[in-house]
């Protein structure tokens, strides 16, 4: 394993809840230099466990029971005696050194029994921690410490217990501490938790510690090295390819931005000239131009204005694909009401009833969603323009169990035979003298919905209105 694979398990500073919950392996060691570092981990461990109603056991040696209680009460803030009821204190004589000696298998059996008892008493889990300075008692069996630590790794994965073995760095020698690193899958160092690359599977570790190493064991390890190296190479290749692709994408976007800007800017000026001089001719030279001529000039004006509109819409469409999306909770009902008010203002004498449902909410980019709803409701407004009275609805319902929004109008509608063309850019189902427009609005809406991971579809009938349904990925 390479050294750069140490993974920090959520920072104690970040205060992200109980970092012990996220650890699958539950055999942890705590290496510390002073009481601060010691309890930075242990207090968290105990208090989170107590809050969740776990059975908690603390085996003291370096500290006294009162020392520990003092720290816990201080960190907890309040003197909540009741919570500490589930916290049991044991001495090394009660546990590790019962009967005057230490035996790994006996200790593990004791741990197992303690877990069973706790579960039988209704506790969901067991949390245990012990200060490991008992090995200095020089009693028989204390030399079997690392055998014990290794064998614990058979017990924990399928248990309902989590344990922290506490090692004061100042007191233990390097050989022991190295063995501690080899036997704990998760290691706490000076108060922070890490995945441990020095962890050795108990079968392997015990074989080298107290037994024979079978050939197969070595061969597996050797082959594993080769496999991991190739996996790592693959990962690095993929990562650098990704970074390269990202860089090219950013550059390409920048170029596209600059290109679009100059294209649109340079196209606008000639359009203004076409529009302007046609108008001047119509105004100032009317007496010298016949009716046909005047009509042609009007068409020139209309065409240049449409061109301008197309440029604006295209710019908007291309910007939407490239822009960064912010994700927020958006009140669509409020948005709908604002847009309805704006539409009403634009033609106050139109008779249109807006029905905007309450409680329409979605997660998405507020700016893009505004463009989309604006476009859909604007369309509804436009295509009901020839009716004396109209009704435009914005609401939600369920389709196949999924929440769906819809914008509905009772206006000109469309022939379902052409529904497939509706969302493609520049496709129009009505002629421009029936209803003005560049034909790009729905393509833009579809792109926006697409960027939100949703879908949009339409149904309608000629002169019977249209309904646009869409989903937004939640």
């Amino acid at each position: 394993m390479t050294h750069d694979m140490m993974v920090l398990i959520s920072n104690s500073q970040e205060g992200i809840g109980d970092r012990f919950e996220s650890i699958g392996k539950r055999h942890i060691c705590n290496i510390y230099r002073n009481r601060n570092e010691q309890f930075s981990l242990i207090a968290d461990f105990m208090l989170h466990g107590l809050r969740r109603g776990h059975k908690c056991i603390y085996i003291v040696d370096e500290n006294t029971k009162d020392d520990v209680l003092g720290v816990l009460k201080e960190k907890e803030g309040r003197d909540d005696g009741s919570m500490l009821d589930n916290l049991m204190f044991l001495t090394k004589e009660d546990s590790y050194l019962k009967g005057g000696s230490f035996d790994p298998d006996r200790m593990i059996k004791l741990l197992q029994e303690t877990q069973e008892t706790a579960l039988a008493e209704g506790f969901p889990e067991l949390r245990v921690t012990g200060e490991m300075t008992w090995i200095f008692s020089k009693l028989p069996g204390v030399d079997k410490l690392l055998e014990y630590e290794a064998k614990l790794n058979y017990f924990f994965p399928n248990s309902k217990s989590t344990a922290i073995c506490q090692y004061n760095e100042n007191k233990f020698d390097a050989k022991t501490l190295m063995g501690v690193l080899n036997t704990h899958p998760v290691v706490g160092i000076y108060g922070e938790l890490y995945e441990n690359p020095y962890y050795i599977h108990p079968e392997v570790y015990l074989a080298s510690l107290i037994g024979d190493v079978p050939v197969a064991m070595y061969e597996n390890a050797r082959d594993d090295c080769v496999k991991r190296a190739s996996v790592e190479r693959e990962r690095r290749r993929a990562e650098s390819a990704l970074m390269e692709a990202n860089k090219r994408l950013t550059e390409s976007n920048k170029e596209l931005d600059a290109f679009s800007y100059s294209v649109s800017h340079d196209l606008r000026a000639p359009l203004r000239s076409m529009d302007g001089f046609s108008q001047i001719l119509l105004e100032d030279h009317a007496d010298r131009i016949d009716e046909v001529g005047k009509d042609y000039l009007k068409r020139i004006r209309a065409a240049s204005q449409l061109s301008g509109q197309l440029i604006d819409d295209l710019m908007k469409l291309s910007r939407i694909s490239r822009s960064e999306m912010r994700v927020e909770t958006v009140d669509l009902s409020e948005l709908g009401r604002e847009i309805a008010a704006q539409l009403r203002n634009s033609s106050p004498d139109r008779n249109v009833e807006f029905v905007i449902a309450d409680g329409l909410v979605a997660r998405g980019d507020p700016h893009l969603l505004k463009i989309a709803i604006d476009s859909l409701m604007g369309n509804a407004w436009k295509f009901t323009g020839r009716h004396p009275a109209a009704r435009i609805e914005f609401g939600q319902d369920k389709t196949d169990g999924k929440k769906t929004f819809f914008v509905r109008d009772d206006g000109a509608g469309f022939d379902m035979a052409y529904v497939g063309k509706m969302f493609a850019p520049f496709q129009r189902l009505h002629s421009s003298d029936e209803f003005p427009g560049s034909g790009i609005g729905l393509a833009t809406v579809r792109r926006i919905i697409g960027r939100h991971g949703g879908m949009i579809w339409a149904e309608g009938a000629v002169e019977k209105g249209a309904t646009f349904h869409f989903t937004l990925d939640n």
């Binding site: 606008r268 000639p270 000239s273 302007g276 001089f277 046609s278 001047i280």
Partner: protein
């Protein structure tokens, strides 16, 4: 006499069509100021600072500068910076009249001390209305800074 002199408008615009349309709009609404047209940034600075072809022009300063941004030779932003950094021209009302929709142009325009920033509409009626509104405001309603004797 100073007070009787007609205050001029300096139009800095490289697009001949836009020049024509602007003049047309101003004329239509009887904005009777004399309009001086220069076709690029260098010419604008020559005019304002009595250089080159304008070394011997009359000493008056325009009442209003209508400034396009995308100009040949020296661009609008640079022209504006130089206007604002010279005592003789520092107080000149400058209205940026541009096709640009770029946010950065807007920001730089104001940063460099423009009095106003107007985007040229594509629609001719809108464009005419804009020019007339500008003319009426800056030349009739607004009090221009006192006539500074140029070249002093």
């Amino acid at each position: 006499m100073k007070g009787m002199e007609i205050r001029k408008i300096l139009l800095v615009e490289d697009n001949p069509d836009d020049v024509e349309l602007t003049l047309h709009a101003l004329k239509k609404h009887h904005i009777s100021n004399a309009i001086v047209v220069v076709r690029d940034g260098a010419e604008a600075l020559d005019y304002l600072f009595f250089k080159g072809a304008y070394a011997n022009r009359d000493k008056s300063m325009p009442a209003l500068v209508l400034l396009d941004l995308k100009l040949p030779k020296i661009d609008g932003h640079e022209v504006l910076r130089r206007i604002r950094s010279d005592e003789r021209t520092k107080m000149l009302p400058v209205v940026i009249l541009t096709s640009s929709k770029e946010q950065q142009d807007l920001i730089n325009g104001y940063r460099n001390g423009a009095n106003s920033y107007v985007r040229k509409p594509v629609d001719f009626d809108e464009f005419t209305k804009a020019v007339q509104t500008l003319g009426l405001y800056w030349l009739v309603m607004n009090e221009p800074p006192p006539e500074m004797e140029g070249g002093k």
